[in-house]
């Protein structure tokens, strides 16, 4: 038995080395593939979640501005003076390390990121004062501005201007 252990005939160092390299490379490849797949999936999920939260934040602040605008409008109708609102919404410039675009329509906020390619829509109930934006803007802080229309105008004559 001891003799067999000491016997090095027919043992190839090269074959052993190649086998070891192959197994290590296979293991590394498997781990990297599985890991990058995991990261990709998780990254997409996180971006989706963050865009949804940002959309909800914008929607709730639009409603906050709408509520204030209705109060200012009612006051302006009785006093014939002008009321103004300027509301800053603090938003991140990137989500999970990637930039995004925001587009606001009448009752939906659409948020898009290109890497990973995620598209999120957040709908919000119609506001008394219509929302107005100029196309889409990049992620980051947003300002909602309102000025009461001339006295006697209906509340829908005003505009909640959402700008970067």
């Amino acid at each position: 038995m001891t003799r067999l252990r000491r016997d090095r005939r027919a043992v190839s160092v090269t074959v052993g080395y190649v086998l070891m390299l192959a197994i290590a490379a296979l293991l590394m490849g498997t781990l990297l593939t599985a890991g990058s797949g995991l990261i990709e999936g998780q990254s997409e999920q996180v971006v989706d979640d963050q865009l949804t939260v940002i959309g909800t934040q914008i929607a709730s602040n639009i409603h906050e501005a709408d509520r204030l605008a209705q109060v200012a409008h009612a006051d302006a109708n009785t006093s014939s003076a002008t009321g103004t609102i300027s509301l800053d919404v603090r938003l991140p410039q990137q989500v999970a390390g990637t930039g995004y675009l925001v587009e606001i329509t009448g009752d939906t906020i659409i948020l898009r990121s290109s890497n990973p390619d995620v598209n999120v829509s957040v709908s919000y109930p119609e506001t008394a004062v219509p929302v107005s934006t100029t196309g889409q803007f990049t992620g980051g802080d947003v300002r909602i501005v309102y000025e009461t229309p001339s006295a006697g105008s209906p509340v829908s004559a005003g505009r909640l201007e959402v700008e970067q």
């Binding site: 290590a24 990261i39 996180v46 709730s60 602040n61 501005a65 204030l68 200012a72």
Partner: protein, 317 residues
Amino acid sequence: MSRSSDRSQPLVARSADRGQLLLVTALALAVILVAVALLLNAAIFTENVATRDTTTQGAEAIELRGELVAAVGDLIETENRQGDGSTTNVTDGIEAMGPLVDRERARQGVIANLTRNGSVTPGKLLRWTDPDTHQRFDPTHSNWTLVEGLSDSRAFTLNLSDINSDPGAGNIESNAFGVRFINSSNENATTYFYEDGDQIIVEQATESTDPSQQCAIEHNGKNTTVDLTGDRLSTNSSVVDCYRGLWPDFDPDKIQFRNGEAATGTFAFTVDDGSTPTTDSAVQNTTAVYSAAVDIGYQSSELNFETTVTVAPGEPQ
């Protein structure tokens, strides 16, 4: 590398070669794990933000506006009831209130402004000549005009201590105590009051519709306060909001009492300076403040809200 050279390498060197491969794999895995940790951190932050109230202080701004409107309204009403209805006193009061508001809100990191906008509007307060003495609403006539040529009016309240019983269907318009509102086109609406057991019943009729019940309140033998501009009935133990309304849908030009002999009580009514109240000696017409316009501002790090409010407490909605 030849076989002989492999053999010639020391064992430590060959082990180091294998170690390099493992090291590279370990580094790659470490990068992946750091990326996963960063993503997890982003996810936790997102959950945190999602459960936070991220709206600006809109509710606080509306609350401040409400508090200041109530404060200026109280100032006007105090001046009208306990002072001599001087517009100068109200002007001075508002100017004194401004710095107090600013100082109080500064403690919360907010800039708040209250400033007068233009001059305070004068008006007239109509009451019985002896305002606290209850008397029948027919000083000279059963039906009589309290005021005409109205453009603005507010805070019309009756305090009824005695009121006739239900005159029966068909007799309400001819026998129940009522307040008639007539507009410039001669359209009218009348709010009638009568007692039914322990209740005061309020009905309303127009020239084209029969009286229909608006609301009722248990008076339990106590005085009943009717806030016609605020659509509310109250005693010292209960309050009833008349959702169907006590004030007419139109802007009245003239207000009359109908069947005045059917009720006893007091009243108070603030009208604009241009209106023409009755000259009956039973009614006193005193100088009063009708309204005051104020600029209200709320400024925080995220919100800037500015509005101008005309404060006329008790103006119909």
